[in-house]
Amino acid sequence: MKPSPAEVLTRIIDALEADLIAATDEDIAAVAADLGMKPHMKGSVALFDLIAGGRFGDVAIHLEAPGEQDNGTQLPPDDETSPRVKERSHRDH
């Protein structure tokens, strides 16, 4: 008997979820590098939407950084030379 669309969807989501749970650190590092992200750097765009609005200083600096308007465009990569990183480094020292 042919599975219903809901059954098909459940099976696919379950399988893809299992793939993501099993994703290795190497997979994550490769994808982050492709996207120009440095997730382990404080204030990285990779975690921005998960922690923005918190009260840690780095996030506050991140929110004020230029070029990060909520316009649906790709954010600049986590580049050491970007203004927000420079600003943060300056503050940290």
Partner: protein, 197 residues
């Protein structure tokens, strides 16, 4: 041995749940990235007022507040993924109930209403069918141009085993394994890419 409880400090109560989970070492950065991609996968087809971030933050909050306890032997990512799945189901049930309450109903007396409330609806409603079709289309769209990935998706939907997929789609084991790896990275890419939705 029960799962180790996160250590609570004064900083625990600052920021969003995801930030608190990081601060208390409940999750690592890579765990959060896995969870972000999983949350986006689960959020396809949800109504506009609930997004992937809501589902993920709520799941973490329930664990931080002790409403959900991580079973022994289950990784935190797998556990939180299960909590997210349950939250998504709650939202969907609530949305369906609200939609039913808002739609006009023929007059019934109290006795009929009680009897009807105990009978399960045998057919999915059109809204649910549409949402399912949209979710399937959104998942397919992540793998456009990758024929083998689309074949694997079809096989997963049919409930085929990896061996059955390899036979059905004339794929070697190496092809199958590398397709699954491409799919995993495509999912991660879709999950981690910056977008405002």
């Amino acid at each position: 041995m029960p799962a180790q409880r996160p250590k609570l400090t004064h900083k625990t109560f600052e920021g969003k749940p995801a930030q608190r989970a990081l601060a208390t070492a409940l999750v690592s950065v890579n765990d959060l990235l896995r969870l972000k991609a999983i949350a986006r996968l689960h959020a396809h087809g949800l109504s506009g007022d609930v997004g992937w971030n809501d589902i993920l933050q709520e799941a973490i909050l329930r664990v931080l507040e002790g409403k959900r306890r991580q079973p022994e032997g289950v990784s935190i990512v797998a556990f939180l993924a299960g909590v997210m799945r349950s939250i998504r189901s709650e939202y969907r049930r609530r949305a369906r109930r609200e939609a039913r309450e808002c739609s006009p109903r023929p007059r019934e007396d109290a006795h009929d209403r009680d009897a009807l409330s105990n009978v399960p609806d045998p057919a999915p409603d059109p809204e649910a069918l549409l949402a399912t079709a949209q979710q399937l289309a959104a998942i397919d769209a992540m793998f456009l141009g990758d024929l083998q990935a689309l074949q694997v998706l079809a096989g997963l939907g049919e409930g085929l085993t990896p061996e059955e997929m390899q036979t059905t789609y004339a794929m070697s084991k190496t092809d199958y394994d590398s397709t699954r790896k491409r799919m995993r990275r495509a999912l991660l890419r879709a999950g981690l890419a910056w977008r405002t939705s």
